[in-house]
Symmetry: C2
Subunit: 199 residues, 2 copies
C-alpha cells in the first residue's frame, strides 16, 4: 500500500532512500528512484527535498548522526571518571564504525562514496560535533583536576586525529586485523598518559 501524502514524512523518505542505496549502490537514490520505491509521485518527495543533492546530503547526515547520538550518551553519562569517559568514548566510536563496516559492507561502501561526494559541510559538521563532544569530556576532566590541557578544544582535536586509524573509513580493512584491539589499547593508554595531570 502506498503511503498517503499525509504520512510521507522526511524520515520515511530517508528510510526509503537508504533502502534504495543499500540495494542499488551509490549511483542510485535520485528523487525519482526514491519516489518510485515509495510508490508516490516525485512531486511529493520534492516537497521535502528540493534536489537530489539535498536528499543525498540528508541521508548521509542521518547515517552519521546515528554514531553521534550513541557517543552523546557517553558524554552525558553520570558517574564516569574522566579517563574512563575518554576511553569509552573512543572505544564506542571505533565500535560504531566497525559495526557499520562489517554488518552492512555494501551500505558502508555506499556511504563512504557519499561522504566524499556530498558537500564537505556535512562531514565537516559531523567531525565538528564529534570533536565538540570530546572537548566537553576533556574540559570536564580538567575541571575535575584529572587532566591537564591548556586548550581543551585543541587537545580534543589532537585526540581525534591521533585515533584516525580507528575511525576513518580509509582504514576499515585494518579493523579486521587480529592485533587491532591491542593496537587500539596501546594508543589510548599513551594518549591518556599524556592527558593525565602530574601528581
Amino acid at each position: 500500500m502506498s503511503p498517503t501524502p499525509q504520512t510521507l514524512t522526511a524520515e520515511r523518505i530517508l528510510e526509503a532512500t537508504e533502502e534504495v542505496l543499500r540495494r542499488h549502490g551509490p549511483a542510485k537514490a535520485t528523487v525519482v528512484d526514491v519516489a518510485r520505491a515509495l510508490g508516490v509521485s516525485h512531486g511529493s518527495v520534492y516537497r521535502h527535498f528540493r534536489t537530489k543533492a539535498a536528499l543525498r546530503e540528508a541521508v548521509t547526515k542521518r547515517w552519521l548522526d546515528r554514531t553521534t547520538q550513541v557517543l552523546a550518551a557517553i558524554v552525558a553519562a553520570p558517574d564516569l571518571d574522566p579517563e574512563t569517559r575518554v576511553r569509552e568514548w573512543l572505544a564506542a566510536l571505533f565500535a560504531a564504525k566497525r559495526r557499520k563496516a562489517f554488518d552492512d559492507p555494501e551500505l558502508f561502501a555506499t556511504y563512504t562514496v557519499l561522504t566524499t561526494e556530498t558537500a564537505e559541510t556535512v562531514v565537516g559538521e559531523h567531525i565538528a560535533e564529534l570533536t565538540g563532544q570530546l572537548t566537553e569530556i576533556v574540559r570536564t576532566g580538567v575541571a575535575a583536576g584529572a587532566f591537564t590541557a591548556e586548550d581543551p578544544a585543541v587537545t580534543a582535536g589532537a585526540l581525534f586525529r591521533a585515533t584516525d586509524r580507528f575511525h576513518d573509513p580509509h582504514y576499515a580493512r585494518e579493523w579486521e586485523q587480529p592485533d587491532v584491539e591491542g593496537d587500539f589499547e596501546a594508543l589510548v593508554d599513551l594518549l591518556l598518559r599524556g592527558l593525565r595531570t602530574r601528581g
Copy 2:
C-alpha cells in the same frame, strides 16, 4: 648515447624507471618501456629484473627508502635529548612526505598507486623499518630515564599510528591546510607528555 651493458646497473635502470613513471604515469613502466627509454634491449633489463612486478617493486622500495635514510640520520644523531629526537623524527617524516606530495605531485600520485598494487611486503617492510627506528628512539629514551614505556616496540607502533594523519598519503590534501602545523605540534606535545617519565 646508449649505455653499454657494462654500465647498465640496477640503479641506472631504476632511475630510468622513475623517469618513465614520472612522464607516463603508473600504467607505464614495464620492462619494455624502460629498455626503450634507456636505448637497450629488454634482455639486458631482464638480466637485472626478471618481471615487471620485480621492477615496479624495486623502484617503489627505492622511493620509500629515500625517506627511511633521512630519518635514520636522526636516529643516529649524537647529542639529541630523547624528546627532541622524537619530535625531529616525526617532523622529518611529515616534511619528507609533504615534499614528495607537493614538489612532484604526479610522481607522488603514481607511487601512491604503486604502493597499493605492489606486493604488500614492500610497504610492510618500509613501515617495519620506520617503526623499528622509532622503537630505537623510544628505547634510548627509556634507558636515559626520560621516557616510560613498558614495551618500546608497542609504544613506537602507537606513536606511528597516532601520527597517520601526518604521513599517510591518504591525508595528503590535508597537508595544505593552514592549521596543519599547529595540529601537528599539538598532537606531538600530547604524545610526548604521554611518553615522559613522571617525576
